[in-house]
Amino acid sequence: MHMTLNRPAALPLLRWPRSPAWLVPALFLAPAVLMLAVFLLYPLLSSFQLSLLDWNGLGEQGRFIGLGNWLHLLHDPLFWRALGNNAWLALFSIVIQLPLALALAVLLDKAGERSRWLKIIYFLPLLMSSVALGVLAKNLYDPNFGPINLLLQQLHLDGLAHDWLGDPAYALGAVIAVVCWQNVPFYMVLFLAGLASFPEDLSEAATLDGASEWTIFWRIKLPHLRGTVRTAVLLAIIGSLRYFDLVFVMTGGGPEHASELMATYMYRTVFSGFQLGYGSTIASAMFLVVTLIAALALRLSRRFQTEV
């Protein structure tokens, strides 16, 4: 590494002999880089290597089968179904979470200082663990005792009451609804941060020119938030592609793989099917899908450095 920075030293005579310029930044970076190399980079590469093995995890080493697992993956209807479910999750995350989060952020931003407590309260779902939320949501959806069905029965709408998580037709939708609820606060904070940098004189001037609140939002505020929206879309897509927690707690991917995601499918392949090689193949495929989409999105936006 090469330093281009000039370091003004006022009293060079009293100083320790100068160390090479690259040493200081390297020392500051070393612990973090070491951790990432050992616990992130090495496992990542190792996962690709495992994906070439037929291994049940018991023997010392698996049998090398080349691209056999990858060929199997291409023809595995369950993997494609899981990928499709991930895509639905991503779509609904963008269509439901982001507008809701934006609306909440704009409303809260307008309320100003007084809304501090509201901001905290809206943030609560994100503070609860997915496990607790999943247990709660399971109770809400319970076909016999859950309040959703009880309410529908009270309203004599028995026909609309379903076994929400047990019926393949509804399981994915029911899970997605909870995932959206859990994640709205995250995007809300992101938008609030974006709105905080909004120059107020802009909207003041627009108001003097007779622009309505509505116009100000669509014509001035939303364009100002363009970068934040792009970041949010990217994060929502990536988050959806690698989602695991709530689905695992609520349905485990079932019934009949109706709510299976790539991550739950991989988990099951490894821990219930004991196919470590094939599990690694699913994991590696997930990585490729996420990287591809992230790279594409970054290429489209070219602003990865400044907004996260």
């Binding site: 090469h2 281009t4 920075l5 003004p8 006022a10 009293l11 009293l14 930044p25 500051f28 970076l29 612990p31 973090a32 880089v33 951790m35 990432l36 050992v38 616990f39 992130l40 496992p43 990542l44 190792s46 996962s47 495992l50 931003d109 307008k110 309320a111 501090r116 509201l118 309260i121 609560l124 503070l127 663990s129 997915s130 496990v131 607790a132 247990v135 709660l136 949501a137 109770n139 809400l140 009880l150 904070v189 941060a193 905080a196 940098s197 909207s203 003041e204 108001t207 690698r242 695991f244 695992f248 707690v249 490894v270 599990g279 690694s280 994991a283 450095q305 400044t306 907004e307 996260v308």
Partner: protein, 283 residues
């Protein structure tokens, strides 16, 4: 905050605005209110079938006492604390140093290295499951607290570095130069000048990372077996299996599990929005 104060709006608009926030809030929190109410519902009422109505008797003490004593909740709680506190401190310490280096020094490979840290955030962590489990077995750390601490530090450092590097980059560089002219060494610049200035960011970040680590379920599932090193998330999931019908106890357990991150958040909320805002507005 806004050019026209809410008080000067047309009365109808104002009324709609004032009503909409609390109503949205109520709907928003309904599921959480349900858990809280369930957690103080007595077992008798549950057997009578009063699942969702207002409870007639409160069993606050009895439920929480039972949740704490008839299951290893306290043990799980202890594990969670022993995992989360060092993990948060470690990740933030490493990230502050790395972020300082990336923000202040201008060496070749800086951008590439920073891009790697950014990219590290996009890795679907599940892909690491099998090798990480193997690694922890080889290091003799499987099913121990240090394993979870180490891996959490590693997985959170990338995100923290990214956040802190952007934050430090916004500080006036003259401060660093001035300190050097005064004869301060690089470590002093970092420890005495930069660290105190980024306190709001450190506070905001520590809340976020605390909730990430505290609520983690995935790594706890992968790296522990049985109760020994299991944190609260695994514990609550186990409670669900142990008391399939005792919703009041499961709810009490979930509330106890959520309590620390909620308290953390309330204690630090002043810094939270401010810290995130400052870090995120660069652009």
């Amino acid at each position: 905050m806004f050019p026209m104060p809410v008080e000067h709006w047309k009365p109808l608009n104002r009324r709609i605005y004032k009503l909409s926030l609390p109503i949205a809030l109520l709907i928003w929190l309904l599921p959480m209110i349900a858990v809280m109410v369930t957690s103080i519902r007595s077992t008798e009422e549950l057997t009578e079938g009063n699942y969702w109505g207002w409870p007639k008797h409160f069993a606050l003490w009895a439920n929480y006492h039972e949740a704490l004593t008839t299951s290893p909740m306290l043990h799980y709680f202890f594990n969670s604390v022993m995992i989360t506190v060092p993990a948060v401190a470690g990740a933030i310490a490493l990230a502050a140093m790395a972020g300082f280096s990336l923000a202040v020094y201008n060496f070749r490979g800086n951008t590439a290295l920073f891009a790697t840290f950014v990219a590290g955030n996009f890795v679907p962590i599940q892909i690491l499951m099998i090798p990480v489990r193997d690694l922890s077995l080889h290091m003799g750390l499987f099913n121990t607290l240090p394993a979870l601490i180490l891996f959490h530090i590693a997985f959170q450092t990338g995100f923290c570095t990214l956040f802190l590097r952007n934050f430090i980059k916004q500080l006036p560089y003259e401060l660093v130069e001035a300190a050097r002219i005064e004869g301060a060494g690089e470590w002093t610049v970092f420890f005495r000048i930069v660290l105190p200035l980024i306190r709001p960011a450190l506070a905001a970040l520590s809340i976020l990372v605390f909730t990430f680590v505290w609520n983690d379920y995935f790594w706890a599932l992968c790296l522990t077996q049985g109760d020994e090193a299991a944190p609260l998330t695994v514990g609550v999931a186990a409670l669900k299996g142990q008391w399939t019908t005792a919703w009041n106890l499961v709810s009490a357990g979930s509330i106890l599990a959520a309590l620390p991150s909620v308290l953390m958040f309330f204690a630090m909320q002043r810094h939270f929005v401010a810290g995130l805002t400052f870090g995120a507005t660069k652009g």
